[in-house]
Symmetry: C2
Subunit: 314 residues, 2 copies
Amino acid sequence: MTKRSILTFETYDDWDVVPMEAEYTVYNLPHGASLDSLPQEAFDTVEAFAFRGHDHLGAAVMDAFPKLGMIANYGVGYDTIDVAHATSRGIRVSNTPDVLTEDVADLAVGMLIAGARGMTGASDWIRSGNWAKNGAYGLQRKVSGSRVGVVGLGRIGRAVAERLVPFGCDIHYFARSPKDTPGWTHHGDIVSLAGAVDSLIVCVSGGPETIGIVGAEAIAALGPDGFLVNASRGTTLDEGALLDALESGGLGRAALDVFLNEPDLDPRFLALDNVLLSPHQSSGTVETRKVMGQLQRDNLAAYFAGTPLLTPVN
Amino acid sequence: MTKRSILTFETYDDWDVVPMEAEYTVYNLPHGASLDSLPQEAFDTVEAFAFRGHDHLGAAVMDAFPKLGMIANYGVGYDTIDVAHATSRGIRVSNTPDVLTEDVADLAVGMLIAGARGMTGASDWIRSGNWAKNGAYGLQRKVSGSRVGVVGLGRIGRAVAERLVPFGCDIHYFARSPKDTPGWTHHGDIVSLAGAVDSLIVCVSGGPETIGIVGAEAIAALGPDGFLVNASRGTTLDEGALLDALESGGLGRAALDVFLNEPDLDPRFLALDNVLLSPHQSSGTVETRKVMGQLQRDNLAAYFAGTPLLTPVN
C-alpha cells in the first residue's frame, strides 16, 4: 500500500522521526526554511502537517497544499495557527493538551522559587569565587506563606495553585467568574489581583484574546517588591512596560520562559540582573516530549483512519 | 542599670545589631578574627554568646570567658558547638528550630526542580546567545510523578515531602523506624532508598551521627540517571565519592547548598556542569532571618531574666 504523505515543521527527535517515517512519506521544513525548498511532489501529495514551532501558520502555507486536510499541532497552544482559515477550508486541527500540564506547572513553581530565592545569582556567587572572597550571598525572599496570584485558572493555572498549597501560600486568582476552589480568592480584574499579591504567575493561553492582558497598570500594582512569572506566551505581557519596570525598579523581579519574537528576545533583558531567563522549555522534558509526540501521531492516525481525533481543536 | 555583656560572632544585619546594642554591651568577633583582637574587658564581662557561623566553637573559646553561661545559636544546626563541654560547664545552649523549616524545604524543592529542569544551564543558554544561534535548549527531566527519596523525616524532611505531594511524586523515605505518613514508603537503609528512587534529598541534621551517611554505595545505587540534593550539612555526604561519581557519570546530577570546608568548597565542583551550586542559603531570606534573630534575642533575654529558654538544646 502506498504511504500517505505528511509535512513536518522544524526538528523532531529520533523517537518521533522513526515512527513517522515508518508510517508516512515524510517531507520536512526546517526552521527558517522557505516553502520553495520543498519538491513539487510534496505540494501534490501532502495531506497532513505535523506542525510545531512558533512561526505563523496561515492561509498562504495551507493553501499551497491542495490535499491538506489535517494539522496536528505539537503543543497545547495553537495561537500561531490560523484555525479560522483551516476551519473554512475543512482542515482539521488537533493539539496536545493535558500531557504537558504537569511540566509547565512544575517549571512555573520552579521559577517562582528560583526567582524568589535568587538561585541563578547564588550559583554565580559561588562560581565567580565571591562566596569564599566576599562572604555570604545576599538575603533573598521567602516563598512559603507568601501571597501568590494566578492569572487564569485553567488546567495549568490550577496545577500551579495546587502545588503551592503545601507551601502555605495565600492563593488569589484571576478568572472571568469565580471557580470552585479550596478557599482561593477570586479577582475579576488583573490589576486588583496584582495589587493583592507578592507574586503573579501568568498561566493563560496565548492568542488574540490575551494579548497584553498583563499590562503596565498591573505591573505597577505588583510594585517594586513584586515578582512576575510568565510561563504562558510572550504575547500575554506588555513586554515594553515590563522591561521599563524592571529597569526602573518599578517591578522587583521577573522570571520568564516566554518572550516576544523568541528566540530573538529583546536584548534589554540581557542587561538585567533581576530577571530569570528560561528558553521556552516549559514542556521540555524527555518524558513529556515522548508523550506529546505519541499524541500528535495518534491524532494523525485517527485522521487517516477516518475516526474521531483524540484532541481536536476545531 | 549597667548593661550585661555579650559577644557576637560573625556579622549580623542592622535589624539584629540595633536591638542587641540597645539591650547589651556588645563585643564582636568577625569571621576569621582571633580572640586576641578582643579587649580584656570582654573576657572579664561577657556572659553570653550570640553565636553564628560555621567555625568550631569548642572548649578553648568557651573557657576563655569565665562568666559565660549561655550560647544562643543563630540557626537550627548546632553541630559546630561542643555542647557536651558547654553542658559540663553548666553553659546553656539554645538554637532557632522550626522558624527556618519552611525556607529550607522551599529551597530543597527549588533545587529539585531547578536541577531536574536544568534551569541554570537554561539561563546560560539564553545569556550566551545560544538560543537564538543554535536553537532549542536540550530536553531535561520531569519532576511530577517521579520517585523522590527523603533522607531523614524530621521537621525539614517532612516539609519537603509534603510539598511534593501535589506534584504526584512517589515519596520514599529513610528513617530508623517507620513514621506515620500518608502512604509514603519506609526504608530502613539508605542504599535501599537510593536504589528505589530517581532523586534523593538529604534532610538529616549534621553532627557526628550523620557524617557520611550518604556514602559511595548509596550514590552508586542512585546511578547515572539519579539526582542527589543536599540541603542539610556538607558532612552528611561522602563528598569525595560524590565528586568522583559526578565526574565519571556514575551519578547523573547533584544540587548542593552545603559543602565541606565551605565557603572554600572543593574546586572540583567548579569544573562540573551537572551540579547546581548554592552558597548555604537555605534559611537566607529577609523574612526568616528577622524571625531567627528575634528568637535568638528572646533566648538571650530569657537567660538573663532567669526564665526558661524558649528553644533549649541542652
